[in-house]
Assembly symmetry: C2
Homo-oligomer: 502 residues x 2
């Protein structure tokens, strides 16, 4: 066990902290494997045992963090002369410690029990298209999460406190500024696209694409981009995700026989996440600085590959021949490029949305969940407000709650504050893309199928730092300027202006 | 957390024991998933992270068992008036506690980390046919396990102490007596078979059987036997195994294009293991009585299905039509039955060995590992001694270490004392088979493809008891008499006498 009588000047407390943290981190990595297995491999009947395993692991992680010597080590180290790197490690553990130590275990358990109940209730409400079935448990969750936030810091906006669970170092004010700009500037662009006469190609229309071939294409894609198969694998999951650590970062995708581009973009997206994980500092594995930066940065990596590589004309110049060969098609790169970038504001489903209207979906959820947590919106009013906002942002109004405010699972998880990181990541992806392009001829490299320098740039500027720097520091280090929506807005205006002859 | 001030008369200490044990058991079940993943799914590069995870889990299991309140609860309960079932639970936890309390955590973690490293090293050594690659880590493991045994009881033979890890309730003396009878009585029978003029059929000779079709056949086999796919799955692994819990018990097999019966018998064997796991008492999951009895009993279940069902004439009367259909053959049940029971003393591979020479393979390993642990044999001499013993028991000498002493994975797991349970299980399988046949018309049922009553008998007489009874109690309960080699020896004499016209 870690010793408690460390000399304040010595690194003993630091070594002890690292040792304890290592066990906590390893339990987390073990839980990731169990979660991956549950989604990808586990037979249905395995759920009761798996739930118990995961609950034991998360209970032990909590216990090792807040009931052992970690708090003392943090106090010691904060009063000591430590290196910058040690200070960064202390900052990371302190953040987790303070949050977990301030929330009573009973509340954590109550939230866990309520979300367990909320999941089938949400499914039932969605199936019956009846929000009133879901409303009571949603109300309960909002209340519990407000309470949760108050335990952490009752002097601050509870939504801000919850947001920091997913994105501790960006600030809700920054997030709101960026999202506000999207809210101001995207709807007019979407409106212009809607009114454009441009007719984008769809060489896949009406076709059926068998899943074995689609799987082969996903392998091709990962080969092309340079995925390290020695440290990863590709499987299918109903909701694609990526998980793992620097030694073993796996991706999943899913196949729709009518939509081969869906699997391709999902594969590239998850490749981006995995690539971040594989680029983390190996020597810092299972230490406080060995993890990735938070969700916005992670999402910036997946969206960079998905949008700024996988949805470029250059990429389809490289990959269309292979695609044609696999599917027996005769599409041109231009046609596939257009199909991959068609904007469809009438599509109400976030996970199927194009790169442009995607953010309207996020904005609606963000504004509603913020108002719910801040007590400015009653749960019963959610369906009406949801529909109004869809009309405002996308010019469409859902016919039913099932395709409206009940479409996503996240609120039944109690994950308030999570949604904005999707948009924040896309915005950051554009800023990083501009930085990469200021140094590399990205389109030329992509056309040559030479992705090494791009992967290398990201590894050096972003991945290898792990969580050494805060999000704002990392953004500034990697791109040379603070986090901004400018690049994203330039990018979408230019891209869709050209595609839709605006 | 469990309370320490339980009233000696109350069941508080028992409830507290169950709670703590539940966490320990769940960590064990989590580790099983990680091990399954490592053997079946994990990309090669994942080893360093996985080793750390497994080492953390085993360290925490150790800590929860011996550093918390479990010892006090056991003391309290042993001084209390408890039910028979509670006493059995206390007996099980006490056995683990006493062993683990004597072993320092650092040693446990070192063994776990070393075995994780040993696995890829063994694979490499086997692929390169170079024992010297594996020798250093094997030496390390022998040393660590000797140390381990000395911590538990340094007054006793370390091999006996290690054997009790896998088979605590049978005694190494019983094991040696049974193995001694096999060593005495099998070689003359093998010799008779060798000299027999009987020419057994082999309808698969010279054929090539593609692995996709073989996989389909393994699925057919599991369907036929009644495997519960809601709680299991089939995959491939270089060394087939089964793992899991009552909710999720998975099997693996492997395919050799020249030998379709190899995959079939492996699949049936692992089905037997999984069937035991799936028959454990669900309401006792993650409690001290919810696990299976020890390895001899587990192996009796796999060998029962593999040999006493899967290698019977009746089974091939049922299954040959499906086999012919899959492979486009025209074999008769008699021919397949003969092929499945051909004795081949020249086959060096244990897992491919026939039911009769199999035990010679076990005897070689048993004697070598016992000598290694007892310090009577140096690691560097293993290949030579291995080859000599093969000559002695089977009249053949391996040409390479890959097909000699490197063939099996177990030593890389540090599982010394485990091998004898293979033979002990086969012997018990024959005893159980005799008991089943005294109540059921097994051959008739198998011919009708009606496996339900057989599965049900085993569930009722063996599986559902979990670890409620000791091995000797369970054997006597299920078969009506103590553990004996009589039935096995009768069985092989009669079966091979008839097959080989002896």
């Amino acid at each position: 066990m870690a010793t408690q009588e460390s000399d304040p000047e010595s690194p003993d407390a630091y070594d002890a902290l690292l040792e304890e943290y290592g066990r906590i981190a390893n339990l987390g990595h073990a839980a990731s494997v169990l979660n991956w297995d549950q989604e990808v491999m586990m037979p249905e009947g395995g759920t009761p045992a798996r739930s118990q395993q995961l609950s034991t692991l998360s209970g032990l992680r909590h216990e090792l963090l807040v009931e052992g010597d970690v708090g003392d080590h943090l106090d010691t180290l904060e009063a000591s002369d430590v290196s910058d790197e040690q200070a960064a490690a202390v900052r990371e553990v302190r953040h987790d410690y303070d949050r977990q130590a301030s929330v009573p275990r009973e509340l954590v358990e109550e939230i866990s029990a309520t979300t367990s109940e909320a999941l089938p209730t949400w499914k039932e409400a969605k199936a019956e298209d009846d929000f009133s079935v879901f409303a009571p448990v949603l109300e309960e969750l909002v209340e519990l999460k407000r309470e949760y936030a108050a335990h952490i810091d009752d002097s601050r906006d509870p939504y801000e406190v919850l947001f920091e669970e997913y994105e501790p170092y960006l600030g809700l004010d920054t997030a709101e500024r960026v999202l506000g700009r999207l809210a101001d500037e995207l709807p007019p662009l979407i409106e212009e696209v809607r009114e454009s006469d441009a007719d984008l190609a769809d060489p896949f229309e009406g076709g059926t694409f068998d899943t074995d071939t689609q799987e082969a294409v996903s392998w091709d894609i990962l080969d092309t981009l340079g995925y390290d198969w020695e440290r990863g694998r590709l499987d299918t999951a109903p909701h694609p995700f990526s998980t793992g650590n620097v030694y073993d970062a796996r991706v999943t995708t899913r196949f729709d026989e009518a939509d081969p581009l869906g699997a391709i973009t999902a594969t590239i997206h998850e490749f981006g996440h995995a690539q971040y994980t594989l680029g983390l500092p190996e020597e810092k594995h299972a230490t406080p600085l060995g993890g990735s930066r938070d969700l916005s940065v992670h999402e910036s990596q997946s969206r960079f590959w998905e949008n700024h590589i996988g949805r470029t004309r250059a990429f389809w110049e490289t990959f269309t021949p292979k695609l044609n060969e696999r599917f027996g098609l005769d599409a041109s790169p231009k046609e596939v490029y257009e199909a991959a970038n068609t904007v469809d504001p009438s599509n109400l489903v976030r996970v199927e949305a194009d790169e442009l209207t995607y953010h309207a979906h996020i904005l609606v959820r963000f504004e509603i969940e913020r108002d719910l947590i801040q007590g400015k919106l009653a749960v019963e009013d959610v369906p009406e407000v949801w529909n109004e906002k869809y009309e405002e942002y996308l010019g469409v109004r859902p016919d039913t709650d099932s395709e409206g405010c009940l479409q996503d699972i996240h609120w039944s998880h109690g994950s308030f504050g999570y949604f904005p990181t999707y948009s924040l990541g896309s915005v950051l992806a554009a800023q990083i893309d501009a930085a990469v392009r200021s140094e590399l001829d990205v389109d030329g490299l992509v056309r040559d199928g030479d992705f090494d320098p791009i992967r290398e740039w990201l590894r050096e500027q972003v991945h290898q730092h792990g969580s050494r720097y805060t999000t704002d520091e990392l953004v500034e280090k990697a791109t040379g300027e603070p986090y901004t929506a400018d690049y994203f807005l330039d990018y979408v205006n230019s891209k869709y202006g050209s595609l839709y002859d605006l």
